[in-house]
C-alpha cells in the first residue's frame, strides 16, 4: 500500500490524451476483426431463435412451455428473477461504490451499467411473455380506461411492475447522464478523423456538451443525487421481486428472509456477470492497464462476501422450516434435498457455496482465467437457485393429490438460451458504438494519479 494511491487501479504512464484516444479509438476504428463478427453472427442466430420462440408463443400460448398445474411458474419466472438479479451489480457499482468513493469503480462502471440495462430489459420481457396474452400488458399501467377498472394495488405483481419500470428508467438515465461527456468526446474525435456521420450522430446524443465549469458543477451534483437515489432503488427492486413469492403462503415462498436473501443473491450473480464480461473484454481490447488485476480481485472479494450472505440465506431457510414446526415447511426442505429436484439443489449448493470458497486464495483471485471459469459456475448456480425457488415449492403443494412435475420443453430451453444470446448481442453492439469505459472519469483518475506521484 506504499505505492502511489491509484497505481493498481490505473497503471502509470497514461495521460489525458492517450487515455482518451485509447478508449475512443475502440469505438471509432472502422474494423472490428473476425472475432467480433463471429461472436455477433452467433449471437444474431440466437436472437433469431428467440424471435421464433416468442412468435410461436404468441401464436400458440404458454402451453408450449412446460408449465401446467400445479407448477404454473416455470422457466419464465425463474429467468426473470435471474436476469433482474444480474441487473443489480451495475447500479450497485455505479451508485454505491461512488458514494463510498471507491476509486476502482471508475473503469468498470460504464459496462456494468450497460449490463444492468440489458439484463433488466430482458428480465422485464419474461413476466410479460408469461402473461398469456402479452399484448394486454399495458393493463398494469394505471390509466383512465373505458373498462373502468384499476390495477390491484395490493398485489406484489403490480408493485413489481412499478419497481421494474422505475429501475429501467432510472438505470437508463444514470447511464445516459454518465455518457454525455464521453459522447462529446466521441463527437470531437470523430470530427477530427473526418467521420462526418459519426460526428453528427454522437453530436446529437451529446446534446451540445462543452465541458464548461458551471455545467460540470451542476452535472456532478445531479450525478451524485442520482447515485443517492439509485442506491435505495437497487435494494427495493429485488426486495419487491422477492415479495412476489414471500407474500404468498406457499411453503418455501412464505419467508421473511426473502428480501435480504434476494438482494444478496442479486449482487452475487451480478458481480459474477461483471467478471464474465470484464475478463474477455480486457483481453479483446487490450485494456489490462485500465481493468487491472486489482479490479478482478476486488470483484472476487465481493463475490466471496456475497457468497456467505447467500449461504446464510440457505441456512436460515432450512433452520426456519424446522423451527416453525410446520409439517409442510419441513417436508418442503427435506424434499429439496431428496426429492426429484434434489440433484439440482445439491449442484446449486456446490456452485454457490462450495466453489466460491476458492476465492479465499490469493492465487485464485489473481488468475483471470480461473476467475472467468468460476464466474460462469456462479452464474449457473444462481440460475439453478432461481429455478428451484420457483419450481420446488409448487410441485409439492399442500395436497398430495395436486402434486406434479415440471419438465422444461424445447421452447423453454430456446427461450432461455435465446435470452442469453440477446444479452450478448446487445452487449456486442454496445462495445461497438459506445465507450465501454468512462473516458471523462479516467481523465480525472489520471490527474489524481499524477498528483499522488508529485
Amino acid at each position: 500500500m506504499s505505492t502511489p494511491e491509484n497505481a493498481d487501479v490505473l497503471r502509470p504512464g497514461w495521460g489525458y490524451a492517450s487515455v482518451t484516444d485509447k478508449i475512443a479509438g475502440i469505438v471509432l476504428t472502422g474494423h472490428f476483426g473476425w472475432r467480433w463478427w463471429t461472436a455477433f453472427l452467433v449471437a444474431s442466430a440466437g436472437v433469431c431463435a428467440l424471435l421464433a420462440a416468442v412468435s410461436w408463443l404468441l401464436v400458440k400460448g404458454i402451453g408450449i412451455w412446460g408449465v401446467d398445474m400445479p407448477v404454473a411458474w416455470g422457466f419464465a419466472i425463474g429467468n426473470f428473477v435471474w436476469w433482474i438479479g444480474i441487473g443489480h451489480a451495475g447500479t450497485f457499482i455505479s451508485a454505491v461504490l461512488l458514494l463510498l468513493r471507491q476509486k476502482w469503480r471508475t473503469s468498470i462502471n460504464r459496462f456494468a451499467e450497460a449490463m444492468t440495462l440489458f439484463a433488466a430489459g430482458i428480465a422485464g420481457l419474461f413476466p410479460i411473455l408469461h402473461l398469456g396474452r402479452p399484448w394486454f400488458f399495458y393493463w398494469l399501467v394505471p390509466y383512465p380506461n373505458v373498462m373502468n377498472v384499476w390495477p390491484q394495488w395490493r398485489s406484489p405483481l403490480v408493485w413489481d411492475f412499478f419497481a421494474i419500470a422505475t429501475y429501467l428508467t432510472v438505470s437508463l438515465l444514470f447511464w445516459y447522464v454518465g455518457l454525455i461527456p464521453d459522447l462529446a468526446t466521441l463527437r470531437d474525435r470523430a470530427g477530427q478523423r473526418g467521420q462526418r456521420k459519426s460526428q453528427v450522430a454522437y453530436g446529437l446524443l451529446a446534446l451540445g456538451w462543452r465541458g464548461e465549469a458551471r455545467h460540470w458543477a451542476r452535472y456532478e451534483w445531479a450525478y451524485l443525487l442520482l447515485a443517492g437515489l439509485a442506491t435505495p432503488l437497487v435494494v427495493s427492486v429485488h426486495t419487491i421481486v422477492s415479495l412476489d413469492f414471500a407474500v404468498g403462503n406457499t411453503p418455501g415462498y412464505h419467508s421473511t428472509i426473502f428480501p435480504p436473501y434476494f438482494v444478496a443473491g442479486a449482487l452475487f450473480s451480478g458481480f459474477a456477470m461483471v467478471l464474465t464480461l470484464a475478463i474477455p473484454l480486457r483481453a479483446a481490447f487490450g485494456l489490462q492497464d485500465f481493468i487491472t488485476a486489482r479490479h478482478l480481485a476486488n470483484a472476487a472479494k465481493v463475490l466471496l462476501a456475497t457468497c456467505w450472505l447467500v449461504s446464510y440465506g440457505y441456512l436460515a431457510e432450512i433452520f426456519t422450516s424446522f423451527y416453525s414446526g410446520d409439517i409442510y415447511e419441513r417436508y418442503m426442505t427435506i424434499n429439496r434435498f431428496t426429492g426429484p429436484y434434489g440433484p439440482v439443489y445439491l449442484a446449486m449448493l456446490a456452485c454457490n457455496v462450495l466453489v466460491p470458497q476458492l476465492f479465499w486464495f490469493r492465487r485464485v483471485r489473481h488468475s483471470a482465467a480461473l476467475l472467468f471459469v468460476l464466474s460462469l459456475v456462479i452464474n449457473c448456480g444462481m440460475w439453478m437457485e432461481r429455478f428451484l425457488i420457483v419450481v420446488t415449492s409448487l410441485h409439492r403443494d399442500y395436497l398430495p393429490s395436486a402434486w406434479g412435475m415440471f419438465y422444461p420443453t424445447r421452447w423453454d430451453w430456446i427461450t432461455l438460451f435465446g435470452s442469453i444470446a440477446l444479452f450478448v448481442w446487445l452487449f456486442l453492439l454496445f462495445v461497438r458504438f459506445l465507450p465501454l469505459i468512462s473516458i471523462a472519469e479516467m481523465r480525472e483518475l489520471v490527474r489524481e494519479s499524477a498528483k499522488g506521484e508529485a
Binding site: 489525458y16 490524451a17 482518451t20 484516444d21 394505471p142 373502468n148 377498472v149 384499476w150 390495477p151 394495488w153 395490493r154 406484489p156 403490480v158 408493485w159 412499478f162 419497481a163 419500470a165 422505475t166 428508467t169 432510472v170 438515465l173 444514470f174 447522464v177 461527456p181 462529446a184 468526446t185 463527437r187 470531437d188 474525435r189 470530427g191 477530427q192 453530436g203 446529437l204 446534446l207 451540445g208 462543452r210 465541458g211 464548461e212 465549469a213 458551471r214 455545467h215 460540470w216 458543477a217 451542476r218 452535472y219 451534483w221 445531479a222 443525487l225 442520482l226 437515489l229 439509485a230 435505495p232 432503488l233 427495493s236 419487491i240 471523462a440 472519469e441 481523465r443 480525472e444 490527474r447
Partner: protein, 178 residues
C-alpha cells in the same frame, strides 16, 4: 443585429492548474462571466468561476414529492373512491400495500427531475455554440483546458482582455466570432 460581433476571447492551457490560476486571475480582474472549459470536472474550479448549482437539489426533492404524493393519491383514489371493493370487511384505505408503488415513483420523479434540472439549467441541449467554430476547441474534450472571456461580460473590452490573457502565457489565443 446590433449585438457584439465577437463572442469572446479564448485561451488554451495545458493543465488543470494553469486553467484554475487563469480563471482566478480573470475573476480578480473583475470578469464575472469567465467561462472555463475542461475535459473533466476539476475540483474547486466551480467556486472560482462562481457556479450556482443551488437549484438542482430542491428541484429533485420537488420531483420526488410530486411523484410520491401523486402515486399515493392515485392509489387512494382508485381503491377508496373510484372502485371500492369490500373483501371480507378489510379496510379500503390499506396504506401499507400502497407504499411500494409510492416509493418507486418517488425515486422516479426525483431522478427525472434531477436530470431535467441539470439539462435545463445548463441550457442543454444546445447543438450549436459559437465556440464550436474554433477548430482547436475540440481538444476541450480530450486533453486541453480553455478559458473564455465572453464579450457580454460588463468589464469586457477587446484590448485589455487580450492583454490579460496574453499575460497568462496561453498555448493559443483565439478570437471567437459570434
Amino acid at each position: 443585429m446590433s449585438g457584439p460581433a465577437m463572442y469572446g476571447l479564448l485561451a488554451e492551457f495545458s493543465s488543470a492548474d494553469a486553467l484554475c490560476a487563469a480563471a482566478r486571475h480573470a475573476r480578480d480582474n473583475g470578469y464575472t462571466r469567465v467561462e472555463a472549459y475542461s475535459p473533466f470536472a476539476i475540483e474547486g474550479l466551480d467556486d472560482i468561476v462562481g457556479a450556482d448549482k443551488g437549484w438542482i437539489a430542491p428541484l429533485t426533492l420537488l420531483g420526488g414529492i410530486l411523484g410520491g404524493a401523486g402515486t399515493y393519491f392515485l392509489q387512494w383514489y382508485a381503491a377508496v373512491v373510484d372502485y371500492p371493493i369490500n373483501i371480507g370487511g378489510r379496510p379500503l384505505h390499506s396504506w401499507p400495500a400502497f407504499i411500494p408503488a409510492t416509493f418507486e415513483i418517488t425515486i422516479l420523479g426525483a431522478a427525472v427531475a434531477a436530470v431535467l434540472a441539470m439539462l435545463v439549467l445548463n441550457g442543454l441541449p444546445r447543438l450549436y455554440h459559437p465556440l464550436f467554430e474554433v477548430e482547436e476547441f475540440e481538444l476541450a474534450s480530450r486533453n486541453r483546458f480553455f478559458l473564455c472571456l465572453p464579450a457580454r461580460d460588463p468589464v469586457f473590452a477587446p484590448g485589455p482582455a487580450r492583454d490579460l490573457l496574453e499575460g497568462l502565457h496561453p498555448l493559443l489565443l483565439r478570437e471567437v466570432p459570434a
